[in-house]
């Protein structure tokens, strides 16, 4: 007969607790009073002992879950009645309350939240199919299903999307975002006197530093991309040449003591440049983290309104798509934008010899109404110099 393990009440007015860690997993033996799991509430971490001795047969709440007091969080049995509970591919217990739902054609169609499972049964389209169809702006009812019983699978949605794109003479109105981008691009060209200057930068030093430090960053889920190095060097150079960090307000030039750095993020349905505020006060670790966080939230449409305004300078990186250098359009009301080309091994001349080096073309588009060529080149020379001689202690 199984014994229920309940979420304890740690205080009179406490109604819930968050499970921080399970000390045992399904199938493990536990003694009475042996620490079984840990609960956190209000900066207190409490070790909860097992009410009885036995074998854990089920774990019903996972690490990270917040549950109400008296909820059954686990079952302890006397025999080896181990039931298959949520587990990951490598056999380890799931760390979230999620299950993999396999399509009828055996293809993993992604994670389903427990609540969504009921909806699947009711509407006939799995959540992942509905999500994918919405992204491609297709009504799932118009898709013919090749799954069991005519069910629409993920593959069916992707096929329908491809078919839509190849239909000749297809007419589609601009989405709101697309019109806004279109308007801003044309407006910017009309407003600024765009001039472009290109610098060829040796990325040997940056590549070396990236190779030796990236695992430290990746260990905590951060990316040490070339963009992070460029962002750091750019915010420093902007403080040396402040006019490049200024913005226009009518016919006034507004200088800013702060560098609010915009990072262009390509989206499936458009383009956006969320802003890292006070980028000049951030360490490399913070920049890397902000870039990762803003990009992810941009793609999942979770940016806050204040994160997409107030930029003083923008960096864009089409190099990741293969472009060797760009001629970008300035993000109004800013006065300049820096574009990174692909970092590629190229021949260079060093001491009269031809050597292979990782190099990249960096382009600065600047507004010649306000910034003159010599100033722009002074800024870019500083960027080039600091990248080619990157300070290791900054990492």
């Amino acid at each position: 007969m199984a014994t229920n393990v309940l979420m304890p009440q740690l205080g009179e007015s406490i109604v819930e607790g968050t499970i921080v860690r399970w000390n045992k997993k399904v199938g493990d033996r536990v003694l009475q009073e042996e620490p079984l799991f840990e609960v956190s509430t209000d900066k207190v971490d409490a070790e909860i002992p097992s009410p009885v001795a036995g074998i854990i047969t089920k774990i019903l709440a996972a690490e990270g879950d917040t549950v109400l007091v008296d909820t059954i969080v686990a079952l302890i049995g006397e025999h080896e009645e181990v039931e298959a509970s949520g587990s990951n591919d490598d056999g380890s217990p799931s760390s979230q309350m999620e299950e993999r739902l396999l399509d009828s054609d055996g293809v993993d169609s992604g994670f389903v939240q427990p609540g969504e499972r009921n909806q699947l049964v009711n509407q006939g389209f799995s959540p992942v199919v509905r999500r994918l169809a919405a992204e491609h702006q297709i009504d799932p009812n118009t898709i013919s299903g090749t799954g069991t019983g005519g069910r629409v699978t993920r593959a069916d949605v992707l096929r329908a999307a491809r078919e839509m794109e190849s239909v000749p003479g297809r007419v589609e109105p601009m989405t709101a975002m697309r019109s806004r981008i279109a308007e801003r691009m044309v407006e910017s060209r009309r407003t600024s006197a765009h001039v472009h200057t290109v610098f060829d930068v040796d990325f040997s030093r940056v590549s070396e530093l990236r190779a030796s430090h990236r695992s430290t960053y990746e260990e905590v889920g951060d990316k040490l991309s070339y963009l992070v190095f460029v962002a750091k060097v750019v915010v420093d150079a902007l403080q040396e040449v402040p006019i490049v960090n200024a913005s226009m307000d009518g016919s006034n030039i507004v200088y800013s003591a702060d560098v609010n750095l915009g990072i262009a993020v390509a989206l499936d349905w458009g383009l956006i440049a969320p802003v890292i505020r006070n980028a000049h006060t951030k360490t490399m670790v913070e920049l890397s983290r902000s870039i990762g966080d803003l990009s992810n939230r941009a793609r999942s449409k979770q940016l806050l309104p204040e994160e997409v305004v107030g930029g003083t300078f923008t960096v864009t990186n089409p190099g990741v798509f293969g472009s060797i250098f760009g001629m970008p359009i300035i993000n109004q009301p800013q006065l300049a934008i820096l574009c990174m080309g692909a970092v590629e091994a190229r021949p260079a001349v060093v001491n009269g010899e031809i050597v292979a080096q990782p190099r990249s073309y960096l382009t600065l588009a600047f507004d010649h109404r306000i910034i003159d060529g010599a100033v722009a080149d002074r800024f870019m020379s500083s960027v080039k110099e600091h990248l080619e001689n990157f300070e290791e202690s900054l990492l």
Binding site: L10, D45, T283
Partner: protein, 225 residues
């Protein structure tokens, strides 16, 4: 008539974090088995950043890399107490009450609030008005945190506790996002009062207030080395 419980106060002086942690762990076991009375450990730590059990991606509350920390002479420790990342260092009064909350004080909310009350009353003696922020454990002066709290319960015996900034060098807090909370600052008694505040004075006031809030008779000992 209720018999007041006895609280033994042990001043550990300047002691590395790991060593104090071991002392705590021994005391917790002893307290649980009723071999000792309630104990309040008071200590000062050399520079250390501790990562609590709450931090999901624990190192993401660190704003520099672990190797940069060690280059600065700051230790790094993982600990199983509530709360996220915090910093301890010279000038900070750290207290670890090892109390058995049974039979009639088994309420974590109340325990944490009582610790906050002890600190709030202590700093009031130095002319500092502090407050609580609903939902954010700790003692605050405006938007700045004056004292942090992080507690562990093992079958209702408490360990870890609180850290009160007396003359702590606050720039070390720039290395972390304290308790995973963005955009709130930290402060110290020295910074608020604008003058030197004696560590020993704060310590003795705190001990008195602890006895008063927790309703116990204090039995002080000298530094245990």
């Amino acid at each position: 008539m209720a018999r007041q419980s006895v609280l033994e106060v042990r001043k550990l002086g300047m002691m590395p974090y790991a060593e104090a942690l071991q002392i705590q762990q021994t005391l917790v076991r002893q307290r649980r088995d009723n071999e000792v009375s309630d104990v309040l450990l008071l200590v000062e730590h050399p520079h250390v950043v501790t990562l609590g059990v709450n931090a999901r991606h624990r190192l993401s509350n660190l704003l520099v890399t672990p190797s940069q920390l060690s280059a600065m002479g700051v230790e790094l420790h993982d600990v199983t107490r509530g709360g996220d990342v915090t910093y301890h260092g010279p000038g900070q009064l750290v207290g670890y009450p090892i109390l058995d909350l049974r039979p009639d004080r088994c309420d974590v909310h109340r325990y944490v609030r009582d610790l906050e009350t002890v600190i709030m009353r202590t700093v009031l003696m130095f002319g500092v008005r502090s407050s609580r922020i609903p939902g954010l454990t700790g003692v605050w002066v405006g938007d700045d945190k004056l004292a942090a709290i992080g507690v562990r319960l093992s079958r209702w015996v408490t360990s870890h506790g609180f850290a009160l900034n007396i003359s702590t060098d606050l720039k070390y807090f720039d290395l972390i996002r304290p308790c995973g909370i963005d955009r709130k600052g930290v402060t110290s008694l020295s910074r608020i009062t604008g003058s030197r505040v004696l560590y020993e004075s704060v310590e003795s006031v705190l001990i008195k207030e602890f006895g008063s809030v927790f309703d116990c008779v204090v039995n002080s000992q000298g530094a245990v080395l």
